[in-house]
Amino acid sequence: MNAVLEATGLRKRFGSLVAVDGVSLHLAAGEVLAFLGPNGAGKTTTIKMLAGLLWPDGGQVQLLGQSPHQNPWALRHLGAVLEGNRNVYWRMTALENLVYFGVARGLRYQAAQRRARALLEQLELGAKSHTEVRHLSRGMQQKLSLAVALMHDPELLLLDEPTLGLDVESALRVESMVRELAQAGKAILLTTHQLEVAQRLASRIAIIQQGRIVLEGRTPELLGRFAGEHYLIETETPLSPAQLSHLRSLGLEGEGPPYVYHGDSDGLWRLLEALKPTPLKKVARAEVDLLEVFLKVVGRA
């Protein structure tokens, strides 16, 4: 798949502090990459380098093959929501902001007006088109920030904490928008401390710790890897004590239901053979959530 974003070996140092140390990221169209890490790990520094706002000491950034550090028109491919809701002029209305930033991103005035109206409707902000931003709720401001980033229809979106401080309904709306945008082929790099949001949205995860990527991979594979060889087994009918005693000798654990089996798939098949003909309700690999993965990785690092 063609890379929308290709960052290789990014390094940045502020005085004696190494903020980012050899970070490489790759993002293709339609992918959502959750870029996670504790505070001060180097997420924001990396994002600013990707957006051309901070020059790396080393490494390269390519947006659809163009470097934003050398060719400002490469920024035409990028939209960014940075620093939460602080991306718009508070003294201008929602519509005025969108038209202004649309033109500033390279759109013609008329096209910017059409696009702005369409986006406001899409984000359910149509009724607030002529309201000054300072009178909008935080959630509406956040949605407007997202609309600003989308005005010029960029291929890559950098979203720094897009759901921070939003109420449940607004957060879900932003979440579903991110999903729709990815389905429409946008490449999205998302940072968030809300790991359940990241788990729901991201097709890939990268965890940064002390300026280095310490874990990267596709979300289900990573979760699977950290879940290990744990299986949950549930039967339709209770197991007899004799049955249970035999199954325990084969590795079945727990007081059930559900019971837990810890072992490889050969062992699981032996266990299932021994369970015959007890009707099975569920056999599933035990799931781990992103929070557990994150804590394990960050704790270990």
Binding site: K48, G52, L53, L54, W55, P72, R91, V103
Partner: protein
């Protein structure tokens, strides 16, 4: 680029229309400032002093100073404010680049600034009884002063970009502009010779002569004034582009 100019122009008018108190406040405070300077000068000169034509010269000098301050200050104040409110980074995401955007912003803001200047001129002419003649060609030397002021404004905006809080320096340096606008080019002293090379001085001298003494346009001096203005604009842009590079290298575009 035309569309970008148009949205910048609309933005400056929207602010004016939506916050007229800021406009009125600026007109009132600058008019009071002039009156204080004017009355103070009369007080120092004694009760029998008659300023005569000097009132017109003072007023022309003051109005030029005001216009210069607008051109000089607006970018630095704008950058500090945008760094504070968080929109600065969004501006730097423009594919046009920050320098063309800020140049257009300066140009687009000129309309509201001229309106403010016209209002101040009207108020002060009514209050002091001074009468200014506005020969159409006076626009040209004023333009050279504006070009030079934008150059100085970009140089000062470089400091705003790197250090954010520059209000103190801005405030003090405005008085340096008075000196630059009042440098006399008449005579053969060293100051007159130096004046041709100082920012704003040739254009200001020419405008002053045309508006208060009613002399015609000296095309030779105008050419020199344009050259002077463009040189300082070029220098300002060069310093600003270096500051942008430094800010991007040191991570100074965000935070305040």
């Amino acid at each position: 680029m035309l569309d970008l100019f148009w949205v910048e122009f609309k933005r400056s008018w929207l602010y004016l229309r939506r916050y007229p108190s800021e406009f009125v406040g600026a007109v009132v405070s600058l008019s009071i400032l002039f009156l204080l300077l004017f009355l103070g000068a009369r007080f120092l000169a004694g009760p029998g002093a008659d300023f005569g034509e000097r009132t017109e010269a003072l007023l022309v000098g003051f109005l030029l100073w005001t216009l210069t301050i607008f051109a000089y200050n607006s970018l630095s104040f704008g950058l500090s404010e945008e760094a504070q409110t968080g929109t600065l980074e969004q501006l730097f995401l423009t594919p046009y680049g920050p320098i063309p955007l800020f140049l257009l912003r300066n140009l687009a803001g000129l309309g509201t600034q001229l309106l403010m200047l016209g209002s101040i001129a009207l108020v002060l002419m009514l209050l002091t009884g001074a009468r200014l003649s506005f020969p159409p060609f006076v626009v040209l030397p004023i333009l050279t002063v504006l070009i030079g002021s934008y150059g100085l404004g970009f140089a000062m905006a470089s400091l705003a970009l790197l250090f954010k809080r520059v209000q103190q320096i801005l405030g003090i340096s405005q008085f340096l502009l008075i000196f630059l606008l009042q440098v006399p080019l008449e005579g053969s002293g060293w100051l007159a010779k130096l004046g041709y090379f100082l920012p704003l001085a040739p254009g200001a001298h020419l405008a002053r002569q045309m508006m208060s003494a009613g002399t015609g346009l000296d095309w030779g001096l105008l050419g020199l004034a344009f050259l002077n203005g463009l040189c300082y604009l070029g220098l300002g842009l060069l310093i600003f582009s270096r500051a942008v590079r430094a800010a991007k290298r040191r991570g100074l575009l965000f935070g305040y």
